[in-house]
Each structure stands twice: as C-alpha cells, then as structure tokens.
Subunit: 307 residues, 2 copies
C-alpha cells in the first residue's frame, strides 16, 4: 500500500496571535506527506512518497525531517533557485489567512515528473496545484484505488473550467467551504455540493470547514462531523493538507469502492490529525506526534460524538 | 411533566433571499413554546405554558395557532398598546440578521407575572429577556428539575454583570457562538466556554453555532454536533428559540442531574427540530410539523452521524 502526494514544499513565514515564525518548513506536500506517513507508520505498513520541487537553499535538516518520518523522497526535485516562499497572517478567530507575499521561485515552472517506480500508487493525492498540472500528474500515473484532488480559490478564479474538467477525472475532491460555494456559485453549502456533484459526477466530495468541521457527500449520502474542539490554536497553516493527507493514507487500506463507514472513519481520523497541526507553528506538532497521544485524542473525539 | 417558557411574542417582518413577509407571528416564547409542545405531543405527555405579553392588536388566529398546538396560555397577558414588532433582513449565507427596526411596544414594560398554577414547572426556560427580568421570573418559580436561560448580545453590552450573576443561578445556559466569545472576551470558542464555566459555575453551557451546529460543555465533557445540512434556508428567525424550546421539553422527562447521553440526545433532537424552522417564514414549518416527517429526518440525522 502506497500513497503518492504531489504538491508544494515551501518556506512559510507566519504571524498569528500566538507569535510569528520565519521560513518554517511548509507546503501542501509537506503537511500532506507527514500526515499520510504518520498514519502509515501507525498502521505499521505502507509508504508515502512526495513529488515536488525545492530550491538549492532547501535545508538539510528539513530534508532530514521528511526522510526520518519514513517519506520516500525519490520524487523530490532540487532546482536552481530559491524554494517557494509564502508569508501570511492570521487574526481574530484565525479562520482565514491574509497573504502578505507569495514568491513562487522554483515552484513557478514546476513540471512534476513522477519516477517510474512511483507511478502505480494505491492512492494518488494531487494537492493544490494548477488543474492542468494536476491533469498531467494523473496522466503519468495509474492509481490502483483512488485519485484525490485538492484545489484553491485562485484556480477557481483563473482556471474554473480546467478545474471542473479534472474533477470529472478523479474519485474524491477535497475543497474548503468558501471554495465550494464559489465554484458552485451558491451560498447554501448543501445545494453547492449537490450542484458540484451533478456538474462533475465525482463520487465523493469533502468540504473542509475549518473550526466548523467537515461536510461530505458520498454518492447521495451526507456525512457531517464537527472539528475536534481545541483551545490551542497557534497556526492553522497546513491543516487542510494534513486533513487530506490523512484521508489519503486511511483510504488506501481496502479495495473496491470506498464505503460510507470507511469514509466516515477516515474523515474522523483526518479531523483529529489536523487538530494537532493547529497547535504549533509549522509542522512541529505533526512531525513529533506520538501515536499514544494521537490515540488518546482519537478516543476523546469518538466519545464526544457518542461513538 | 411541564415546561414554562417566559419570553417575547412578536410580529416579525422579515426579508431574506427567499422573499419577505410582514407581521408574521414570532418571538422567542412563540418559537420556544411551539417547539416544546411539539415534543411533548410527540412523547404523548406534558404541557408547555407561555408567560408573555401581547397588545390589543394580537390576532385571534395567532392565539388559535398557539392554543391549538396544546400550549397553556393562562400566563399570556394582553396589554393596552401594540404587540412587539421586529423588522430584519438576511443576506448572503444568512448567518446573521440585520435589524432594521425594533418596536418594543407593550414588551417595553413587561413584568412577567407567573400564574400560581405554573410556578412549579419541571423545566423553566427564560428565553431572551433583560437579565433582571429573568431573575424576577426565577425568583417567582421553583422549577423541579432544570432552569434554562437564553440571552443576546444586547444584554452582554448593557448588563454584563447582571447576566453573569444570573448565569450563576441556573442549570443550563444557551447562547450563540458570537455571544459566548463576546461574554468571555476570547475569540477561541473552547477557551471561551471554559472561561464562562469557571466564571459562573453553570453545569451546562450550550453554544448554538447556526449552520455550524452546536458545542456544549457539560461538566468537563464537550459535545459537538453538526447542524442538519439543509438546502432550503428560507428564514432563520426563531431557530435558536426552537432549539432551546426543544431542549427544555427533552430534558424534562427524567429526574436527577442531567446525564451526558441524555443531553446529547436532547441536543440532537433540538438540532433536527430547528432545521425545520429554517425552511419557512415564521412558524409555518414548525407549527405544521408532522411527527412522521420529523421522525424521518431524525433517523436521517442519526444515520449521518453514524449512530
């Protein structure tokens, strides 16, 4: 069982009410990969591989963080130039980041090349990238169980049709609530996801709602789950990627079509995993997450839901 | 088993993306009472009574709506003057009402007089009123199981200390998320409700989050539940009162301290009941709610939660 994650690796500079950090290891593939690998390690089998690009300035210790988690870095390209940098800030209830600066650097001309050995993963997760690059990755690979896709408002703005096209090619789409409303052009989230389902035929739509949990449409069935209520919100960066990376790992352990209860369990695991990412700047909480600590919160979450 | 609800009866004029209505029967006691009585009728026992005031212009057909539901109106005062009127509007995702006009009319000098026969209800629910008036009601009555309280941002603004004082006198407080954050002066909802609990010692805090469901703190235990996802949002007016009225009815059927699973079940029933109120202007959906239709959605909600 293997997960392939294609996306960004970045250095993030983040300010929140809890403080600020500069050039912290981040990026969608980083968070998604660490989350996937945490669960694969927890299950005791499987590996996750990253396909992405970093610059010559990418620090050895950051590479070591990724490698020591168990991630396969054979698809990590090192290009001339600087690593992708993002600067953002969270205020108030920290629901949304204000972006102060985006320097794409080597990410600007990223053309993912999936190594031959990684082309038949159990699960392919295309995290947030231009839809045409996502398409290119999907065409290079042949996922054995599931193809997952994340996106962002930028692509809805500038590449809406390409995004809808690629949603038709995948099994599971993860987006946030604002993006779902924007893409469907409907303020009502239930109508919005039903419209997206009709428009694309995608089997599973997962809408991340941040502190408000998750709403999913799987076939005709809705699943709604609350977030794990946490008092320690330090930095929400990477929560959505942690969520999706966990889904990727937790949906790879079976075969055939994804079942409703399998999906519900994976969404619950993703909810609990992303609650840790919140609690530190960068990947600190995620990469040092202890299985016993995770299991304790996992039990607390199930109890909270009456399960 | 009996529920006593003290609060407002009003004529509401509401505009939403779905249309607009003028002088629709509304008010916190109206919604709370209809919801309570619906559940008491569904259980097959118990009555809910309203204490409130209307003007000479209160329509016979509106009185008939309340009476025919089974509500005890012996505490309904008719005063010289006009019934309380509220005018508001919902836009966009309809999360919050914009108030265009509030005419308190006879409600301005409302001093609740609880009839002798109603002074020992199983559950007393003081819906949104000035905290000193709520205190007066609590002092007139002796609830056998539970005293519940709702409030609003206005009282946090102008009577914060009185509100905190009265929260110390009751068993269960229902407020919305913005109010909880405002009252605790903390943007993080989990910290906010823990702070309110420490500040007041109240056994159960229920935070209504509209389309995002509910978060409750019962002793040291958190309960989080998603809203019932509905595609038909016509008019959210009265949803919070429907929610609280349902809680009042569903927490009256047992004795002793409220248990965690009893509270969870009541919160789930309240969630499903208020999803109906959303789907029409005014009380139309609530007052015509069929038990079979309710039970069907109740089962769907439980299924959605994996229960």
């Amino acid at each position: 069982m293997s997960v392939l994650i294609v996306g960004s690796l970045a250095y993030d500079s983040v300010t929140s009410p809890a403080g600020s950090v500069r050039d912290e290891l981040g990026g969608s593939a980083t968070y998604g990969g660490l989350a996937s690998q945490f669960h694969l390690n927890r299950f005791g089998y499987g590996a996750a591989a990253l396909v992405g690009v970093v610059g010559a300035d990418f620090r050895d210790e950051d590479r070591a963080v990724l490698a020591s988690s168990g991630l396969d870095l054979s698809g990590l390209e090192i290009a001339d130039g600087a690593t992708f940098r993002w600067e953002g800030e969270y205020v108030g209830n920290m629901a949304e980041a204000m972006t102060h600066a985006t320097h794409l650097n080597v990410f600007e001309h990223f053309k993912p090349q999936v190594p031959l050995a990684l082309r038949e993963p159990t699960v392919l997760f295309c995290s947030n990238l231009h839809p045409l690059i996502q398409r290119d990755v999907i065409e290079q690979t042949s996922a054995r169980r599931l193809v997952m896709l994340d996106s962002m408002n930028l692509w809805i703005d500038i590449a809406r049709d390409a995004l809808l096209d690629i949603m038709r090619m995948v099994d599971l789409v993860v987006i946030n609530d604002g993006e779902a409303r924007m893409l469907a052009e409907d303020d009502n989230l239930v109508r919005a996801i039903r419209a997206l389902k009709n428009l694309t035929g995608v089997a599973t739509l997962v809408v991340k709602r941040g502190e408000h949990g998750v709403l999913a449409l799987h076939g005709d069935e809705l699943i709604a789950l609350p977030a794990f209520p946490t008092a320690e919100v330090v930095d929400p960066t990477g929560c959505g990627d942690t969520f999706a990376g966990t889904l990727a790992a937790c949906l790879g352990g079976s075969t055939g079509h994804v079942g409703l209860s399998e999906l519900r369990e994976a969404l619950m695991l993703a909810t609990v995993t992303s609650s840790f990412t919140l609690e530190s700047f960068g990947t600190a909480a995620l990469r040092t997450l202890d299985v016993d600590v995770f299991d304790q919160r996992w039990r607390a979450y199930r109890t909270m839901l009456g399960l």
